[in-house]
């Protein structure tokens, strides 16, 4: 059986954010989409730690972009998901779907 690679929860969120943003995926936009969609306000340091780890695993690749005035003349670092990254995301989703099959959550008697 081929060795599969499951992703952590935050890794999945970051990869999905990069996929949703397409060519506009860099630190600020990824942070913003995580806040807007899942209300998760992560520090820029935590985000870059995860991005660096994903890049080391070969799941994303990065390229330096243009420098703009509103960034104090500093360049953006754009991120793009690799084929291996897409495969890892797909495998994780399939595994989660398989585990959820036939599971029924009952909240009777549980205070919410």
């Amino acid at each position: 059986m081929a060795k599969s690679r499951f992703l952590g929860e935050f890794e999945q969120f970051v990869l999905l954010a990069i996929l949703r943003l397409g060519e506009q995926a860099y630190g600020t936009t990824i942070r913003q989409i995580l806040l807007d969609v899942i209300q998760r306000d992560v520090s820029i340091g935590a985000l870059y730690t995860t991005l660096t780890r994903l890049e080391d695993k070969g799941l994303i690749r990065s390229a330096m972009g243009e420098a703009t005035a509103e960034r104090g003349g500093r360049a953006k670092k754009y991120f793009e998901i690799t084929a291996e990254g897409k495969r890892a995301l797909q495998e994780t989703r399939q595994s989660l779907d398989a585990m959820w099959r036939d599971v029924k959550l009952s909240f009777v008697g549980v205070k919410q």
């Binding site: 860099y26 630190g27 600020t28 942070r31 913003q32 520090s43 820029i44 340091g45 935590a46 870059y48 730690t49 660096t52 330096m64 420098a67 703009t68 509103e70 960034r71 104090g72 500093r74 360049a75 953006k76 670092k77």
Partner: protein, 219 residues
């Protein structure tokens, strides 16, 4: 609307702590977002937001980029703690503190080091030690030389001042009451000198280790 700049100290902290390849994109991202949030938040709230990001980010990267500094500081603190423990076991730490003994050794040793090197080299040696980066073989050699001269001249000064104290005691040998304290002070000078020599030896070895594998062509 008057836009303000990110807090300079927080930026400087990030410049110090971040890995080299992340400085530009990460600081740029923070500045971009800082400019954006100024449209709907007060100046104070923006500064707090930036500081929060800077501190949380520094926390993430401090251990990664400042490991050399942490380990050196830890080893020196461990040495100091053990020395104080030994002093306490010997009858109380207070009898081991004597400012004149320290003044007789460390400042002259620092002057000797500046005399055989340059202020720039001394600064560079401490910078290499605390940052954990040695860029060239020449930088490594000059930094090791700084700690060698500092430690060795401190040790010799300690020995010299101890002998000087003994000569002074010898000339007042009839007055037994002053010999005890005078002897203790003279020995303290040597003790301090040996402590400084030990720390300088560890610092020089640390720089030697950091410079392993540097090519002579990089000078």
């Amino acid at each position: 609307m008057n836009k303000c700049s990110p807090p300079r100290i927080a930026e400087a902290l990030l410049e110090k702590v971040l890995p080299a390849d992340l400085k530009e994109p990460l600081l740029g991202d923070l500045e971009e977002e800082f400019q954006q949030i100024q449209f709907n938040q007060s100046k104070q709230a923006c500064q707090i937001w930036y500081w929060r990001q800077a501190l949380l980010t520094s926390f993430h990267y401090f251990n990664q980029t400042q490991k050399a500094l942490i380990m050196f500081a830890f080893s020196v603190l461990f040495f100091v703690a053990l020395t104080i423990f030994a002093m306490e076991l010997s009858g109380g730490a207070s009898m081991f503190f004597d400012v004149p003994s320290l003044i007789l050794t460390l400042p002259p040793a620092l002057v000797f080091t500046l005399a055989v090197s340059t202020p720039g080299n001394v600064k560079q040696a401490f910078s290499c030690l605390f940052s954990g980066h040695v860029d060239s073989l020449r930088q490594m050699k000059s930094s090791v030389m700084v700690f060698d001269v500092l430690g060795t001249s401190c040790l010799w000064l300690g020995a010299l001042m101890t002998l000087l104290g003994w000569v002074a005691m010898g000339s007042h040998i009839e007055d037994v009451a002053i010999i005890g304290p005078a002897f203790a002070v003279s020995i303290l000078t040597l003790l301090y000198a040996m402590g400084v020599k030990l720390v300088c030896y560890v610092a020089a070895q640390r720089i030697n280790y950091l410079g392993q594998g540097l090519s002579p062509n990089l000078d």
